[in-house]
């Protein structure tokens, strides 16, 4: 097993991924480059800066012989092949690979690992970047119109060229960014923050030019979602340093991300691959030897179910509170009419005051409904999507394991074939065949080792990611819970003011 490792044949892997080069970049250069400086050697330290490492294309993890298993990530063809800085070494650092690779991964003591992750996390706390998305502006007319948003970055981090940057971006740009990040990082086990959802109905209204409250609400909802998306993305230490992200925040012009459209070629390929994925999930049965992963997977399944329920309940609350606001407005108008009709002067005045106060209440209820929505409901919505990404990461690990297993099976078969050759009857062809099979065995031994390393790597990355995710989750929710409660306090205090102003009016009825 300690034989030299040749890099896996570059050709096919390159083809599969970069079949749809829409960006006009020379993708193949990068691909070949990556595979030649294949970092599958155990020594991590002295890797050239040019090394693409696993992230951009993950050559290690897409093995050509598994063509029948199209990795959906690579269907997102607008990915760039960019050269990553050496700072992202952590993904590479394999450490010494274990001597013999049994079918199952060795059991790892989870508590020690968690502690280690904790320490690593704390270093990333000096984080100074603030992104805001603002000034939505409609560009163009009719069905080709779109909203452009201003993205402002304020930061003191050195990786940016200036302390304050401002660019204009449209929604598909954000989707394009997410698409690139997902293809680069998801298969390595990174939890890539999901992009906000598309909405055909909402966007059509805006395009058509409906200037009503529902389309302004839609734009605001989207603006807020885009802002949260960017903040989450830059909070991830790995994403923050990705050139795509930097380019997104800095460049005045971005190539248009066409493949994000639902009905584009890439879009359809995405759908096909998602279906293929679903089938695969059903057929791969992983032998989980690591109790930590089993536990975590279950935990996140539960959390996902609960968050969905909570999200639904909070959306119902938002809906009812909006209804309350509308009904209050309606009552206010009616009370005003009643006051006008009332012939007793003092009572008439009091009823008019009641109507005025109820009008104020209408606004108060609506404001609270917005707080319910933007503070609480949207956070839950974000987390429902994030948890889907988390579940995806577990799936990636499963896929990685599966590839490793397949490699082992193949190796087994080759060895069996070699053994058979010993007893073959055709001596003239024998030596040639024996040589061939020996080569193949070496090749598959390499693949098996690679597979095991990949599996270990992704497991390690996931542990770290989950640790970070949980930490963020705790922080997010602690902060939102307090903010939300404070919004409720504000509403109640305002209520007191309104009623206390009305009380003397009621008492004045004589």
């Amino acid at each position: 097993m300690a034989a030299e490792r040749d890099p896996p044949p570059p050709g096919d892997a390159g083809q599969a991924r970069f079949g749809e080069a829409e960006d006009g970049e020379d993708l193949f250069v990068g691909a070949v480059g990556a595979l030649e400086s294949n970092p599958s050697s155990p020594e991590p330290a002295s890797l050239p800066a040019e090394d693409i490492s696993a992230n951009s294309n993950g050559p290690k993890l897409v093995d050509s012989f598994l063509d029948d298993d199209p990795d959906d990530l690579f269907a997102e063809a607008t990915e760039e092949v960019s050269l990553d800085s050496p700072e992202r070494e952590p993904i590479l650092s394999d450490g010494p690979s274990p001597a013999i690779t049994p079918i199952m991964a060795p059991r790892i003591d989870s508590t020690l690992f968690d502690q280690a992750l904790e320490e690593e996390e704390d270093n990333g706390d000096t984080f100074d970047i603030c992104i805001s998305v603002s000034d939505p502006e409609k560009v163009g007319d009719g069905m080709n119109a779109y909203m452009a948003y201003k993205v402002t970055t304020k930061t003191s981090l050195s990786v940016f060229s200036q302390n304050e940057l401002s660019v204009r971006r449209r929604f598909s740009d954000f989707l394009g960014l997410h698409s690139k990040l997902a293809s680069k990082y998801m298969h390595s086990g990174y939890i890539v923050p999901p992009a906000p959802e598309k909405s055909i109905v909402g966007m059509t209204k805006v395009k058509v030019g409906k200037e009503d409250s529902s389309s302004t609400e839609f734009v605001e909802k989207r603006r807020s979602a885009l802002e949260r998306y960017l903040m989450r993305t830059v909070k991830h230490p790995v994403m923050l340093k990705d050139p795509n992200v930097l380019q997104f925040l800095e460049s005045s012009e971005l190539p248009r991300a066409v493949s994000t459209q639902a009905l584009s070629g890439a879009g359809i390929l995405r759908m096909v691959n998602k279906a293929a994925d679903a089938v695969n999930k059903m057929t791969i049965k992983m032998n989980e030897s690591d109790a930590w992963f089993e536990e975590k997977q279950q935990q996140f399944e539960n959390l996902d179910a609960q968050f969905r329920k909570l999200h639904a309940s909070v959306e119902s609350l938002v809906c009812h509170r909006k209804e309350l606001s509308l009904n209050t407005a309606s009552f206010a108008k009616s009370a005003a009419m009643l006051g006008n009709s009332e012939d007793h002067t003092a009572l008439s005045r009091a009823l008019s005051q009641l109507a005025e106060m109820e009008e104020k209440m209408e606004q108060l209820h609506m404001d609270q409904a917005y707080a319910d929505f933007y503070l609480f409901a949207e956070l839950l919505g974000d987390y429902v999507r994030l948890l889907t990404a988390v579940k995806g990461v577990f799936d990636q690990r499963m896929k990685t394991w599966s590839k490793w297993q397949d490699a082992q099976l193949m190796l087994q078969r080759k060895r069996e074939a070699e053994a058979k050759l010993q007893y073959a009857n055709k001596p003239d062809k024998l030596q040639q065949a024996k040589d061939e099979i020996k080569e193949e065995i070496v090749e598959w031994e390499g693949k098996v080792q690679q597979g095991e390393r990949d599996f270990e790597q992704i497991s390690k990355t996931i542990r770290k990611e989950l640790g970070r995710f949980e930490k963020e989750r705790v922080k997010d929710f602690k902060s939102v819970i307090i903010k939300y409660l404070e919004s409720l306090v504000q509403t109640q205090q305002q209520l007191i003011k309104y009623w206390e102003a009305f009380l003397p009016e009621a008492k004045a009825i004589a």
Partner: protein, 398 residues
């Protein structure tokens, strides 16, 4: 089946001002039973009047008995010039019953705790409907007992005292009157009132006012009902949110656990407050508007009767002129005319008094309820603020 106790009742006196002041005749409904669909009210009377056989007594009565009493009063010619207190509406448990049914169907989708809380909410709603219906029946009787003329009505006294089942009497009354007069009123109403030429400024004003006001107050009642219902929905949502937060917190093993616990707890506490805000608004505002919508209708009925009397009077004048022209049946026509005139004048005099006191009553009731509602809303909001601030403090420190 639920009954209500005295302490609940004392909290209830809302819609009408204290009618039960005259010691000579004090009426209340201290107790009520709900059997299947029928509510049995215990009508309790304390009196110093000699017309009654005992100084204190109680009888069981059903809703239909109250309707009978109301109808006989309406049909009584003598009371044409009075505003007959509106009949109490039929006890309507449809809403909580339907909700209870829906809850039963949805039981599988919620946790046991959630289900229990929702059930408690519904039982409270059921009880609130029950209390309201008792109150509205009580107020009806108290309006009668505090009216100088109506309190002396023989049927009223029978209603209070007769210790047997009234259903026999009810049947007889239906046969006698056949609901004739009531039907007439219902069909001719607005057209007749607005059509008659008014001679008296006071009544002209009242007519304009009542016709307009009755539409407006009906509308306000509907809008208030919708507003309180939306409020109740918000309070119910709080229950679900609290329950789910609780489940999440139970499985949470991070530093977030305590926050989720407190957050869930807060929603649970707030929903009680919100529920009470909704039901107080229901009682003080919506019930008030509902009651006066009915009372305005009773006032309109009075106007109607007077308008009819005026029409009769005018017709009798015409008939007298005709008779004098023809010199035929003059005495008869004169008699008729005099009777119509007397009736009309009596109605006008009594009507004027009734409408004036009606306005006073209405103003006092509105004042009382609006003040009480404002005070309650302030109390609940302050309570919410202190609960929330306490929770925020704890969370910031933990």
């Amino acid at each position: 089946m639920p009954t209500i106790s005295q302490e609940y009742k004392t909290a209830l006196r809302s819609v009408s001002v204290d009618l039960n002041n005259d010691v000579s005749l004090l009426i209340d409904i201290p107790d009520a039973l709900c059997e299947r669909d029928k509510v049995k009210f215990t009508v309790h009377t304390k009196t110093t009047l000699s017309v009654f056989q005992k100084p204190e007594f109680s009888v069981p009565r059903q809703h239909e008995d109250f309707i009978w009493l109301h109808d006989t009063l309406v049909e009584t010619e003598e009371y044409a010039g009075l505003i007959i207190p509106p009949a109490p509406p039929k006890p309507d448990f449809e809403s909580p019953r339907e909700k209870m049914h829906k809850l039963g169907e949805g039981e599988a989708t919620m946790t046991k705790e959630e289900y229990t809380k929702m059930k408690q909410e519904l039982e409270a709603e059921y009880l609130a409907v029950f209390k309201k219906t008792v109150q509205v029946h009580e107020v009806f009787l108290q309006r009668l007992s505090s009216h100088p003329v109506l309190s002396k009505d023989r049927n009223f006294q029978i209603f209070l005292e007769y210790d047997q089942d009234l259903s026999v009497r009810r049947k007889n009354a239906k046969e006698m009157f056949g609901g004739f007069f009531k039907n007439m009123v219902k069909s001719a109403d607005e057209v007749l009132i607005s059509g008659v030429k008014e001679v008296d400024d006071f009544f002209e004003q009242e007519k304009t006012f009542l016709l307009d006001y009755s539409t407006k107050i009906k509308d306000s009642t509907t809008k208030a009902e919708r507003m309180t219902r939306a409020h109740k929905n918000v309070a119910d949502d709080y229950i679900h949110v609290a329950a789910i937060l609780n489940s999440i917190s139970a499985e949470e093993n991070t530093a977030l656990k305590k926050h989720l616990d407190k957050f869930s707890d807060m929603f649970e506490k707030l929903r009680k407050v919100e529920g009470r805000v909704a039901s107080d608004q229901e009682l003080k505002l919506t019930e008030l508007l509902r009651y006066y919508t009915r009372d305005i209708q009773a006032a309109k009925d009075l106007l109607y009767r007077r308008a009819r009397a005026l029409a009769d009077y005018e017709n009798s004048n015409k008939a007298l002129d005709k008779a004098r022209l023809k010199s035929k049946d003059v005495a008869q026509a004169e008699d008729n005319q005099r009777q119509c005139m007397q009736k009309f004048e009596k109605l006008s005099e009594s009507g004027k008094k009734e409408l004036t006191s009606f306005k006073g009553r209405r103003v006092v009731a509105f004042r009382k309820n609006l003040v009480e509602m404002a005070e309650l809303e302030i109390k609940h909001a302050k309570n919410s603020v202190s609960l929330l601030q306490g929770c925020i403090e704890t969370l910031k420190n933990c």
